[in-house]
């Protein structure tokens, strides 16, 4: 029994008083239990509380506008109503160096995570078949007891190594706690998984600059920006900070308007803002970069020595990249030689200039060498650690090179999996057979707030608080010139019987039959956060590789005769990698390029569509050697005739009422091609064929009418 303190006494009296009053009404199911408010609030007066947006790894500081309101809550296992502080709106935190008072579209929608109607409210235990979604509610005591007994059994049997942890890429003390817990248990290090995890970019930056980190772009002071497939104004790296800097680059430098050139096979939302779009063949971004470097060196626009280590990593650099003459580049990329020479001269002459690569450009088997080429180009024009160039945020805790990958984890046949908000079943190719591997794990415990494709396989769900109800922290790896570190208390009290995952781990550690060695010294996560941080790790600079890397062409799965088109999946502006598909605001957000809402689609060049008899809205089948998906066609002049593009994000089988059974997931049909150095999925490396299946089935929901401002006489847009 819980001891009866004053607060609990008041609650109980309130409950019984209300029950007594309502019992006379004769409708016991209509009873409303009103709890005593837990905090003092001035009605109608907003309080702003800091927090951190959890939806991507940029780590934007936010402030939540908290006002009082009546909420249906769970208290002590009892549903009822209480008056409490509720977050009503999120804004960027003006004091945060990354968000600078601004917030992106996804950050604005993060509010709905907390109030989602399908959010899990109590611990659940699987009752039906795995993946059937049949769960029953259990108490926290029972749920933690179950997990403890499972861990005890494994540890007691000397199988602590068969305990695995899979989460989203996170940094900070929450992740440190997880690592510490596993280490004390004798289990292998935690594994993080995300579809767009930027491992290739970090790896290349480590080689080139000794920093395993994403760069911070000083666009605000740049006068010439060359993007290589990086959707830095949409979804890549630190979009808010990059948009802020971009705005200053455009109109914030008196008397100067910078030029922005985007090199990519499909116009991304970022490319749409470019002054010049350079259409290329997929996977040839690095060739363009090296071609530019060739011209710059050949014409003596910058001394080759300026490239330093980054240049030296590219084979043939010292001799001026003889294999990358403009003519050669034209042949391999489709960029006209004269245009390349012009761009090279502009790039060298109108500094500070900066080149950016990321996202789709690195999702190739040759991703590392592509990134190395762009890094070398940056070094060549002296834009590394220079105003208007790229820099690395001096963060206390830079990202660590992952010790294990998802494949390592699954390959080790774990007996118990702790799952923290990662959804590899959705975000891996079907051919990688991740779901099957997960099903063979005897026990899975999930900490996620929602049932998605992966947590649907769990045996036990221990739902975490939403971020607004939790302690949050951020020390972004990029987006600011100075180190940023934020720890924020919960912005509001929890609505439901959820518990913070670190607290659950700490409780598990206390209840284990064999105490951890060494024991975790904290009772709660809050205590951990208030403890002085451990000594800062050693300087992040590592010796960079010295051996030059030769150019390697991108390799594609599927032969060009059978599968004539490159499939270019891309991160959806609204739904990102699909982890945000459950938020109705984002589902109903018109895609910036196509204006589609609640939909999946396939972008097809008008010429290709004409040849295949495909019209806007027609259902088409996109098939690779590994599977097929169907989605409506969107005819777009922003993609070449040799490629089709699909947004990632829809196609969830199980992910709340708003996302389940909606659209198609292109990731499922990808070939499991990996970038060899990092083991990350090369998600742009699959070739597909295309066939019209039927006319429009109504699943393409567009907000806009025409696509052109002055459509032709037939009303065609």
């Amino acid at each position: 029994m819980t001891p009866m303190d004053r607060r609990r006494f008041l609650k109980v009296t309130a409950i019984t008083g209300t029950s007594a009053a309502l019992a006379s009404c004769g409708h016991p199911e209509n009873q409303i239990i009103r709890f005593v408010p837990e905090e003092e609030l001035t009605p109608g007066i907003a309080v702003w509380k800091p927090s951190v947006c959890p939806l991507c790894s940029a780590g934007c500081g936010v402030i939540a506008r908290v006002m009082d309101g009546d909420a249906e809550v769970f208290r002590n296992g009892q549903p009822g109503v209480t008056r409490m502080g509720l977050a009503r709106k999120l804004e960027g935190d003006p004091a945060h160096a990354v968000s600078q008072g601004r917030l992106c579209v996804r950050g604005q929608a993060a509010l709905q995570v907390t109030y989602h109607p399908d959010r899990l409210t109590t611990p659940l235990k699987r009752t039906g078949e795995r993946g059937s979604g049949a769960f029953q509610e259990v108490s926290w005591d029972e749920a933690i007891g179950e997990l403890v007994s499972r861990i005890d059994a494994l540890v007691g049997g000397g199988q602590a190594g068969a305990i695995a942890f899979l989460g989203r890429p996170r940094r900070g003390r929450r992740q440190a706690l997880v690592a510490e817990f596993l280490r004390a248990l004798g289990a292998p290090a935690p594994v993080s998984f995300a579809l767009f995890d930027d491992g290739v970019a970090r790896h290349a930056n480590e080689l080139s600059f000794g920093r395993y980190q994403l760069p911070t772009l000083d666009l605000a002071r740049a006068r010439y920006v060359m993007g290589f497939g990086a959707d830095f104004l949409g979804t890549w790296n630190s979009p808010v900070a990059q948009n802020v800097a971009y705005g200053r680059m455009r109109q914030g430098q008196p008397g100067v308007r910078a030029k922005f050139v985007q090199v990519e096979p499909r116009v991304s939302q970022t490319g749409a803002s470019a002054d010049e779009w350079v259409a290329i063949r997929p996977g040839t971004e690095g060739i363009v970069a090296l071609g530019l470097a060739h011209v710059i060196m050949r014409e003596g626009l910058r001394p080759a020595a300026a490239a330093g280590r980054a240049g030296g990593l590219v084979d043939g650099w010292a001799s001026g990249l003889p294999a990358f003459t403009p003519q050669e580049v034209e042949q391999r990329t489709g960029v006209k030689a004269a245009r390349l020479e012009r761009l090279a001269r502009e790039f060298a002459a109108h500094g500070p200039s900066v080149a950016v690569i990321g996202g789709a450009a690195l999702a190739h088997a040759n991703g590392v060498v592509q990134a190395l080429a762009v890094n070398a180009l940056n070094a060549l024009v002296g834009s590394v650690d220079a105003p208007g160039g790229i820099a690395f945020t001096p963060t206390e805790a830079p990202p660590a090179r992952p010790a294990r990958s998802l494949r390592d984890l699954l390959g080790a046949s774990p007996q118990l999996l702790l799952l923290d908000d990662a959804n590899p079943v959705f975000a891996t190719p079907a051919a990688a057979r991740v779901a099957e591997a997960l099903r063979s794990i005897p026990f899975i415990a999930s900490f996620g707030c929602f049932v998605d494709e992966t947590s649907a396989l769990a045996d036990l769900i221990l739902p975490d608080h939403s971020f607004l109800e939790s302690w949050t922290e951020s020390s972004p790896e990029s987006g600011a010139m100075e180190a940023v570190s934020v720890t924020a208390p919960p912005a509001m009290r929890p609505l439901y019987a959820t518990r913070a995952m670190p607290d659950v781990l700490l409780e598990v550690s206390r209840r284990l039959s064999r105490p951890l060695d060494p024991p975790l010294p904290w009772q709660t996560f809050e205590e951990l956060l208030q403890a002085p941080p451990a000594a800062a790790p050693a300087a992040p600079t590592r010796p960079a590789s010295a051996a030059p890397v030769g150019w390697a062409d991108a390799q594609f799965d599927g032969d060009a005769a059978t599968y004539p088109f490159h499939l270019l999946p891309y991160a959806s502006q609204a739904l990102l990698d699909g982890s945000l598909a459950h938020l109705p605001w984002l589902q109903e957000l018109p895609d910036p390029m196509t204006t589609a809402m609640w939909s999946s689609w396939v972008e097809i060049n008008p010429h290709t569509a004409g040849q295949l008899g495909i019209a806007q809205g027609d259902m088409v089948e996109v098939s690779s050697a590994h599977g097929a998906v169907r989605a409506p066609a969107v005819i777009s002049p922003g993609i070449g005739p040799d490629a089709v593009a699909m947004p990632v994000g829809q196609g969830h089988e199980t992910f709340t009422r708003y996302a389940s059974g909606r659209g198609a997931n292109p990731i499922r049909v990808l070939a499991p091609v990996e970038e060899p150095a990092t083991g990350t999925l090369a998600w742009s490396a699959t070739r597909v064929k295309l066939a019209k299946v039927s006319g429009p089935d109504g699943s393409l929901v567009l907000f806009a009418g025409a696509t052109r401002e002055r459509p032709d006489h037939h009303g065609r847009g």
Binding site: M67, V105, L233, P239, P584, A704, R708
Partner: protein
């Protein structure tokens, strides 16, 4: 001197990120209508980012243009409303009095910008999504027209606060949700009657144009056109 609220949209800064769109939804309690209704043309976005393609591959280009209520001085929506639900306030806002609206939808037809949205059904917030609602903004019922208000609730709150502190409003401190969210700083809001305000100075820019100016509605939103890049002389 009375305020005259206006906005400048810098198309050279806008990246089409649509942070403004969701910010507006969150601030103004705009309902989401769901896929089926959205497919029937009932989606509501008080601010939208229009995009237009130009040219063909590989020379295709895309332009973005955020469009919200232009808060016209000579607003066509106001004249046609038989019940004065749509009317001009003394601070130059095109106010929409939801309680006065009987739903003729004439205002929406008269508006050449199509920035007025109609509640075809009672808006629904599936529990507990209603907890996200902004208590400062009234909910609209079925059959009522709604539109961008320049976040009038924020204007009122800021004026009250300034009056309580016996000071003038500070330019830039008061922003509608879209402008506050806009990462690229493409949306600038302020008092056009204050010659020192950023919005007043920017609206004098040579890049400034008005949307569909030829209709004579005298919109209070100035669009700063995208600037081309011209190779500067290298010294």
């Amino acid at each position: 001197m009375a305020h005259r609220w206006g906005m400048v949209v810098d198309l050279d800064r806008c990246t089409g990120c649509e942070a403004c769109v969701t910010a507006c939804h969150a601030e103004n309690n705009i309902p989401t209508v769901g896929a089926a209704e959205a497919a029937r043309g009932r989606a509501m976005h008080w601010i939208r980012v229009e995009r237009y393609w130009e040219g063909e591959f590989p020379e295709a280009r895309l332009t973005f243009r955020p469009v919200l209520c232009q808060q016209c001085d000579n607003a066509p929506c106001e004249a046609v409303c038989p019940t004065y639900a749509s009317h001009q306030t003394d601070e130059g806002l095109n106010a929409q009095v939801y309680n006065r609206c009987i739903g003729t939808r004439y205002c929406a037809n008269a508006c050449m910008y199509n920035v007025r949205f109609f509640n075809f059904f009672h808006p629904q917030w599936e529990k507990p999504l209603q907890l996200q609602l902004n208590p400062d903004v009234s909910l609209r019922e079925s059959g009522v027209m709604e539109k961008c208000t320049f976040c009038v609730q924020r204007i009122r709150a800021a004026k009250l606060e300034a009056r309580a502190e016996a000071r003038e409003l500070v330019d830039g401190a008061l922003q509608p949700a879209c402008a506050q969210a806009c990462p690229a700083g493409a949306l600038v809001f302020g008092d056009l009657n204050d010659p020192e305000s950023r919005v007043a100075r920017l609206s004098e820019s040579p890049r400034g144009t008005r949307l569909l100016e030829e209709y004579g509605a005298e919109p209070k939103i100035t669009y700063l056109q995208r600037q081309g890049w011209h190779e500067p002389d290298i010294q």
